[in-house]
């Protein structure tokens, strides 16, 4: 159920990062949604005053982005299928020659949308699967659409459209983890799990917490459970071995933090529903409005500002650095600073390592062996 990125995509992204070309990008078409998920990082209950970009504005941006090198385009929301002009927008974007993926909660794939996908099959549909029952959907999303979503996933599969399940585990749905994996296996679906949830800075304006998320230790336990449901015993034991031999890297104690580790702001951008460019949709800065400048100028500014970002200096000397996926958006949403040490992440990573060793460490094998 794991996933391998096609080699050509990795190659183009690496080259893009070296040459400063935005090979991939996200168009956040709306932040409106027919669900009201407790943990959402972007959806607000009052979206009535939102000034969303029109279809024409998106298409103009897309033309500029195409000239700048955009190839892999992700359409997201909110719920992007809620836009009344989705059909027009999607058709025109498809004709331009992008590899388009769509993030959706899967509840609004109407017969019209199925027909649209028949004529213009997306490269992939990423369905956010929020639980394994109507009850979980009700409590987490305030919507009883579970069965509908499953039906739609099956229909997409029948149409031979590539589907990935994006699963964010939290207090409301953690008990459904095994059920979700069972469904994925039964239907031969790729699953992208995460038991970490960003604080909802964009939706609520606050750093440091997300009321729906698991404690760091429970998130760690569920991370290990997800790996257990995906990897072989041998792979898990190898990981445990790695976790047992973690030690702080040798480095200058005064060394400043390293730069961004991911593609954001190097070969990839995010555009909000109202036309602001950011390296990544989880953070609120750096941020440049396309009202004030062209796509290319905005991209150059975002690149520059991204290059200035530094992660916490503590991470440089941390024994768990090699197994920690800390990123700038985590630091920023947890602490309000890119170089702020995100304690929740530290606790989670250490608990993951402990849990691996406890469950899959060979008897008699210790740090010293």
């Amino acid at each position: 159920m794991g996933e391998l990125e096609p080699k050509i995509s990795t190659y183009l992204h690496n080259k893009g990062a070296k040459m400063g070309i935005p090979v991939s990008g996200t168009f956040e078409l709306t932040r409106k949604c027919n669900f009201n998920c407790k943990m959402c990082y972007v959806h607000c209950t009052d979206t009535s005053k939102d000034r969303e970009l029109s279809a024409e504005e998106w298409l103009n941006i897309a033309r500029e982005a195409k000239k700048a090198g955009l190839l892999f385009l992700l359409l997201t929301g909110g719920e992007p299928l809620l836009r009344p002009d989705f059909e027009l927008l999607y058709t025109e974007l498809s004709k331009m020659g992008f590899m388009i993926s769509i993030n959706t909660n899967g509840s609004m794939i109407t017969p019209r949308i199925f027909r649209l996908f028949e004529d213009y099959p997306p490269a992939r549909v990423n369905i956010s699967l929020y639980g394994g029952s109507e009850e979980t959907y009700e409590s987490l999303c305030e919507s009883r659409n579970f069965k509908k979503v499953l039906e739609n996933i099956k229909k997409l599969k029948e149409m031979k459209i590539s589907v990935r399940l994006n699963c964010v585990f939290n207090r409301y749905n953690v008990a459904d983890t095994q059920e979700i994996y069972r469904f994925a296996k039964e239907n031969d679906l790729i699953i992208k799990p995460t038991s970490y949830m960003y604080p909802s800075l964009r939706a609520k304006g606050e750093t440091g917490d997300n009321e729906a998320r698991l404690s760091a230790v429970d998130a760690a336990k569920n991370t290990v459970l997800c790996r257990k449901l995906t990897f072989s015993e041998e792979q898990l034991r190898a990981k445990a071995k790695e976790m047992m031999s973690l030690y702080p890297p040798e480095c200058d104690p005064d060394a400043e933090g390293e730069g961004m580790r991911c593609r954001a702001g190097k070969s990839s951008f995010w555009l909000t529903y109202d036309g602001r460019m950011m390296p990544c949709g989880m953070m609120t800065e750096p941020c440049v409005s396309l009202e004030d400048m062209s796509f290319s100028d905005a991209w150059q500014l975002i690149r520059q500002k991204t290059a200035e970002i530094r992660l916490p200096s503590e991470c440089q000397q941390c024994s768990h650095k090699s197994v920690c996926n800390v990123c700038a958006a985590m630091c920023y949403t947890e602490t309000g600073r890119f170089d702020g040490k995100p304690d929740y992440i530290c606790d989670m990573v250490k608990a993951i390592a402990d849990e691996f060793v406890k469950q899959f460490g060979e008897v008699g094998e210790t740090d010293e062996s």
């Binding site: 050509i8 995509s9 090979v23 090198g69 190839l71 498809s94 004709k95 331009m96 020659g97 213009y120």
Partner: protein, 87 residues
């Protein structure tokens, strides 16, 4: 030479790829990378009555001998036929 499928030819950072559009992506699921020469030939297809036409154009564009040009054109055209991209 008529192209049977709908692709958009993209040049990104000096690399050439064909992006399948619409129903074409049910047959070709993913990007179709092209070498520089293949990309040049691809651009000629709609106007090309036969392979000789493409070979002549190729000789005008690249500093290669006729034999190499014929081999390159024939290899690419054969590949396109295999995939039924052209008849």
């Amino acid at each position: 030479m008529k192209v049977n499928f709908d692709f958009v030819h993209r040049e990104i950072m000096g690399d050439h790829v064909l992006v399948p559009v619409g129903k074409t992506s049910t047959v070709f699921n993913g990007l179709f990378p092209l070498t520089d020469t293949a990309a040049f030939i691809w651009g000629l297809l709609p106007d090309a009555p036969d392979e000789n036409y493409i070979v002549t154009k190729l000789l005008g564009e690249y500093e290669i001998d006729k034999e190499t040009a014929e081999r390159d054109v024939s290899a690419f055209i054969t590949k396109l036929r295999e995939f039924r991209i052209i008849d």
